[in-house]
Amino acid sequence: MLIKFRINGDPVEVNVKPGDRLLVDVLREDLRLTGTKHGCGIGACGTCTVMMDGYPIASCLQLAAMCDGADIRTIEGLAGTAALHPVQQAFVNKSALQCGICIPGHVMAACALLEKNPDPSEEEIRASADSVYCRCTGYIRILEAYREAIALARSKSA
């Protein structure tokens, strides 16, 4: 079946042959957007997190057919040509990464939270960071990156 959706603002049409093809496969294989990672296949690790209509979802559990008409955003769609997205910049500033395989998931989860709620509580930050595993950092720097992103966004809008 032919599905149409927006990917990082651009319209795309993908012929999804098996009706149960997953969004993560469409992104990584059909569209070659490999920034979204495949970590566990069961929605547990969060490295495949992308935004669908403004919400974070596990693209490894998302049937692609159901994305017809949706607005999908991935890690590739965040940075402008001149500058990183504030959330990306925050992860760089705070050195909130090591091997980096989980970082696209963390950045997308953080974006999804901060776009809905630019001033989240510590609890909300923790819950969001908790939604994506990181095997390297011990999370402290990722939590700092959330706070840095909030500060960067604030100074940008001020």
């Binding site: 098996p18 009706g19 149960d20 997953l22 070659r32 957007l33 490999t34 920034g35 990672k37 970590g39 566990c40 296949g41 069961i42 929605g43 547990a44 690790c45 969060g46 490295t47 997190t49 669908m52 919400y55 974070p56 596990a58 559990l61 998302q62 049937l63 057919a65 159901m66 017809d68 890690i75 590739e76 965040l78 940075a79 990183l84 760089v92 050195s95 990464l97 090591q98 091997c99 980096g100 395989i101 970082i103 696209p104 950045v107 989860a109 999804a112 923790r126 819950a127 969001s128 908790d130 939604s131 595993y133 990181c134 095997r135 011990g138 999370y139 402290i140 720097r141 990722i142 939590l143």
Partner: protein, 1085 residues
Amino acid sequence: MNPRDPRLAQVDSFLVVGKDVVRADAVPKVTGAAQYVADLHLPGMLHAAVLRSPHPHARIVSLDTAAAAAMPGVKAVATGADTAKRKWGAFRPDLYPLAIGKVRYVGDEVAAVAALDPETARAAVDRIAVQYEVLPAALSLDQALAPGAPLVHEDASGNVAHQFSFERGDVEAGFKASDVIVEGTWESARQWHTALETIGCVARWDNDRVTMWCNTQTPFLARGRYATALGVPESQVRVVQTEVGGGFGGKSGDDNASVICALLARRSGRPVKLVHTREEEFLASHPRMPMRYWVRLGFRRDGRILAKEIKMWADNGAYTGKSQAILGAASVRHDALYKYPCVRGNSTLVYTNLVPTGAFRGFGNPSADWAVEQAWDLAAEKLHMDVFDLLRMNAVDPGDVSPHNHRITSCELKQCMDKAAALIRWKEKRRKKAPDREIKEPARGLGMGCSVHVNGRRSFGDWDGSSAIVRVNEDGRATVITGEGEIGQGNLTVLRQIAAEELGLPYEHVDITRPDTDLQSHSLGALASRLTYVAGNAVKNAATAAARQLLEAAAEQFKRPASELTILNGEIGPRNGSETDFRPVGAVARANIYKPGGQPIVGVGSFDNPSEFPDHNRYGNESGAYNFIAQAAEVEVDPATGEVKLLEIASAVDCGTVINPATAVGQVQGGVMQGVGFAMTEYFDWWNGMPTDPQLKDYPLPGAAMVPKLHVAFADSYEPSGPFGAKGLGEIGLDAVPAVIANAIADAVGVRIHELPITAEKIHRALHPGLYAGEKPAAPAAPRGGTWARLSAGKPSGARPFSPEFIFARTVEEAVQLLAEGDAALVAGGMSHALRRERTGFPQAKRLVSIMRIPELQEFSIDARGMLRAGAAVRQQVFSEEPRVKERWQAIDDAMEGVGHTRIRHMLTVGGSVGPLIGGFDLPLAFLALDARVTVAGPRGRRTLSLEEAFQKRFAKDEMVVAVDVDSPPARSGSSFYKYMARRVLEIPTVNTAARVSLNADGTCAAARAVVGAVSWKPIVLDLEALAGRPVSEKSLREAVQDVRARAEPLSDVRGSAAYKREMAVEFTARALITAWKRARAEKA
């Protein structure tokens, strides 16, 4: 106490070293541009799938691949017969790339397929027919060591893969002189690296040479072993390191994945990609080696250590990999931590028919520390000393030599202990212990422990060196050429900083290469915490040589002696010269080339660890320097459940000069949390030699919510043999963590854990033996279900070629009609279908009918009477965003928190969670407590029934959920929901409970209901009519739920034993009722 080392003053003057520069890999990693092995795509590339042994031990009677090879789209099939039939391995070659004759563990590679797409490759694997003769297996240390045990390898009698012993000093005399002796046995467990990127390779042959793009941490060592396994000369193999998505020892090139990938590429003549599925990573990567560790320590009355003895047996698994070296590290390393005058040891590496073990951050130290650091804690108790004082009194000092000739150079262990104690406020918090007190409330405790680690280790022959080339380009930028690589720890950044500092260039002017075995010279790679120290020294030496050449070139150009010149921030000029006297490095380098007989600036440097190759019995100074850590933890233990809450963990590290503070802190924080996982969350249930569900679901990693306050400090320390005084620190953050937590638990509630993992159940059992006195343990039963059927046939997880039709139904009636036609499945969020596809490989229905575009199922409303209606297609996140839910139906709001994250709540729907009628699910249980009604539609029309009735009678197969209605609760009502995940296993909790309490105006109970899920086939519903009209108290509510214990029919599984689940069902039902009651009271006020 510690007079400041005068060399530390020079550290303060460094321009690049010690500064938080931007990591070399930061931007590509935050933009998704970084290329990991799974991201590679070559033209014509095939995808591989592997058939694995489903038996722990079996003879291969026959193997038929004809049907697989004949499938359209299949381009190559390989079995052991197609290999060079050569065993390979780091120390003891015992592993075939594909099994020959026998399989020795569940997961052993039997055959492999390369096909046009992964689905076809898996389907072809399904068609490979293997006949096995199942052999008796050795599934534990005890079974493997028993007389007459089945032999895992015929050439290893008694299943002993390796053994050594030592006695250094007079141990008998030491124990004889001891006033206090402690001893005990501690057991550790398999821990998987669980790098979020699994092991993988893309291989391509060009004529007789193969290029392997691998995520290995040790490209050169991998090349040598892969060449052996492939039966080709070493120079015919080119290994290129891709971005590595986490290593931790697990990508040290001891597994078969890359070799099989190269075999398939050779047979098909096309590039092949083979990336482990998460399941394969659990079945066939090489996790941490479990050890049974007996230790005895003897002390003089004043606390001075007099003697130590260990006996240790380690579970090698079916193949050896690096485990032989791990055995050594676990036996002798710890003796460089305290001033042991004499030690005796006997260590045995034992083959079992279990997944092979291997290197994992800590390399044996964590299992040794798990035992010995607890034994020291026990000793402190027996000596009536504060463990801090005991450890500090015995800590090694610079100049000490361990009984194994480990020579301590720089050492600030005592400073580390002081810093860790200060960070956690040890003295202030450490209370007097009252040993016989009864613990009723959550209790806090403190624990401490230390560890020592190497900086490189002579393991693979008598060399632990590194070499590097530093090239200064004609534009003034430098390139560091090294094959050591990056696995996420920040090594490339650290090496760039070292080169920049030594060259006098800004950090941004130094680039560095990734490993490509065709380009760089031999290197050992990321292991043994060696890179900062060993590779750092080599890079520094190469930079020194390049700087010398630059200065000599400048001398000619400036017409002054080189000794009068200096390089500063990218420019060369006279020492004490003015700014205008300086000339850019690029100009000097270019002028040195463009002249008759000119040449580029190329510095070469190497370094060999000033260490000794240990003998068979592990005598020899294995590293030129040692790093140290002291750690302290504070925990809170809930005696009602046994749950341990981590409050704070303080780590103070002596790693010499800190080259990059952010990276160094990150290494320690990350190591600590891996230690927490090792201690508390990471383990499987096993059945017949394999994990019952080898996926991340059953193997939860610590998440951000679990992270305590983590303090990290570094000692003022300077290692004379290190680059700019630096030592390594990659592993040491992890080593002592499990022991430190266990010591804190012992301090809190007096329970000493001897066997990893530390679980809430073990603590609960130790605190309440009476509750378990009448327990009749049930015989373990074989797992069942589609996943198990696939696993026990050795087939890979993931989808097979399958093309269900996908239909968006427009009305309920259309969906019902499609369902009635048969072979159709409803999808709402679609998650259950996706999960089934991944886990079983075989989807259910030929038609997927989405209900998400049926307008009436989208309804989410609260009507004038306050009734909540949620249509089947409503996403659960909607409940979280509606403030009235939190006000009136708190149980639903609590359940949303139980579901976890927005990511999952936005995918789960009302219909998807209510439809299957599973009490262990969160939302339906909350609905049940709130007397919800459910409307279903079927070919016979619609009907509305109570959810309770639905749970009793089930829905018909052709019915679908339309909506759920929940009435507004009466005045003075409260509700609540609890989800207890004893170890965070996903999907179904240990127990979940929900409750609702309504009060009369006088505060007596009007109505109360509690429901319990996950401990019986149907939820247990308690309508507590006996409470009606009576005053309510915590005591009366607790009494009212006691018969949950008898009504529960839990199964023992990875979430806890049946007996523990019963106790937790009672506890959390009581908690749910008490919370609901308190909320009802609060509403009245």
